[in-house]
């Protein structure tokens, strides 16, 4: 089933890396991009996304802030925080928001494993 993945990262390179892995592992899925949290929320106001992949370290608000905003309106959406900043405190906050943590530099295996889990979670939720 085709899914829409929201990729939020202020780095174009980082978005390119995610898109490159998605094109290899989930070629039929659609990718929508935002360069920051505000743009991401605007985008979600206009169109639906099934899964969110969010960078942690961004100007204005960090990725956990955005994950909390999304989670407040959507309890089922699979969310992953993508960062090399795997400090215990950040991992714990991600867990509180029921968000996965995928370490950068991204590997195809790690992201593909999250996406498989996300697809399963959405099917179970009847979405």
């Amino acid at each position: 089933m085709t899914r829409t993945v929201l990729v939020v990262d202020d780095s174009k390179l980082a978005r390119m890396v995610v898109k490159s892995i998605l094109s290899k592992t989930r070629a039929d899925w659609r990718v929508v991009e935002a360069a920051g949290p505000t743009e991401a929320l605007d985008l979600l106001g206009r169109e639906a996304a099934d899964i969110a992949l969010i960078d942690f370290n961004m100007p204005e608000h960090d990725g956990l802030w955005l994950a909390a905003e999304i989670r407040a309106g959507n309890t089922d959406m699979p969310i992953a925080i993508l960062s090399a900043n795997a400090q215990d405190a950040i991992l714990a906050k991600a867990r509180e928001l029921d968000a996965a943590f995928v370490e950068k530099p991204l590997s195809e295996e790690a992201l593909a494993a999250f996406l498989s889990g996300a697809a399963l979670k959405l099917r179970r939720a009847g979405k």
Binding site: D10, L13, A84, N85, D88
Partner: protein
């Protein structure tokens, strides 16, 4: 970790395109974030990072930038790296927070005298963990090997810290990248900085183009 226009030298000649700068900043950001994880384990507290700033400027302007932000005496741990691109990585913080940083990684039972005794060694170790962590990720992502010098501890003004004992040419153009870090629970703050000269920027431009081509080909 991007934004803004392309960056160039003072003659306006573009040295890095927007995408190249974005790529370089993201690679360094991943390195520094990994380093923050290591530092966080050492200080047993969360380490907060700002988004990186990347600019091409003279060494003098870099000194000016740091002096404006920190007018007290500084401590820095520096490590040189050499490979297809070369430069200097620095962990810089105000002298007044140096002991607190050292205290945070040592046994709580040590006396102030013992902590002072260990300060130099502990600072070098913190610098080693943070700077190596950052440079290794950068080298691996760009598929290059880098030789890293042993860490050295420097004390003094921003001039001493950024120009060093070798008295680097203050007029030389460098790529100056900085990230603020803070351990708020212990009121520790500082900077992770990277300085690279122009030949290194040209070399890194080539590596980044190769890295981007690799992404486009997949």
């Amino acid at each position: 970790m991007n934004g803004g226009d392309d960056i160039g030298n003072e003659d306006g000649q573009l040295l890095l395109t927007e995408l190249e700068r974005d790529a370089l900043t993201e690679v360094i950001n991943i390195g520094v974030s990994r380093a923050a994880k290591n530092l966080s384990r050492m200080v047993k507290d969360q380490v907060h990072l700002s988004v990186p700033r990347t600019e091409i400027m003279t060494r003098d302007r870099a000194v000016e930038w740091l002096s404006r932000r920190e007018n007290s005496s500084l401590v820095a741990v520096g490590q040189d790296f050499r490979g297809s691109f070369s430069g200097q990585a620095l962990l810089i913080f105000p002298q007044k927070t140096s002991l607190e940083l050292v205290r945070s990684i040592l046994d709580d039972t040590l006396s102030l005298e013992e902590i002072v005794d260990l300060e130099q060694e502990a600072l070098a170790e913190i610098g080693n963990v943070v700077l190596n962590g950052c440079l290794v990720v950068m080298a691996n992502m760009l598929k290059e090997s880098l030789n890293m010098s042993l860490p050295r501890v420097m004390r003094g003004s921003s001039q001493v810290v950024l120009l060093g004992a070798d008295e680097e040419d203050p007029g030389e153009m460098v790529l100056f990248l900085t990230i603020d870090f803070a351990v708020r629970a212990r009121s520790i703050n500082g900077y992770i900085a990277l300085l690279m000269d122009l030949p290194s920027i040209t070399a890194i431009k080539t590596l980044i183009r190769r890295y981007l081509r690799g992404l486009e080909e997949t």
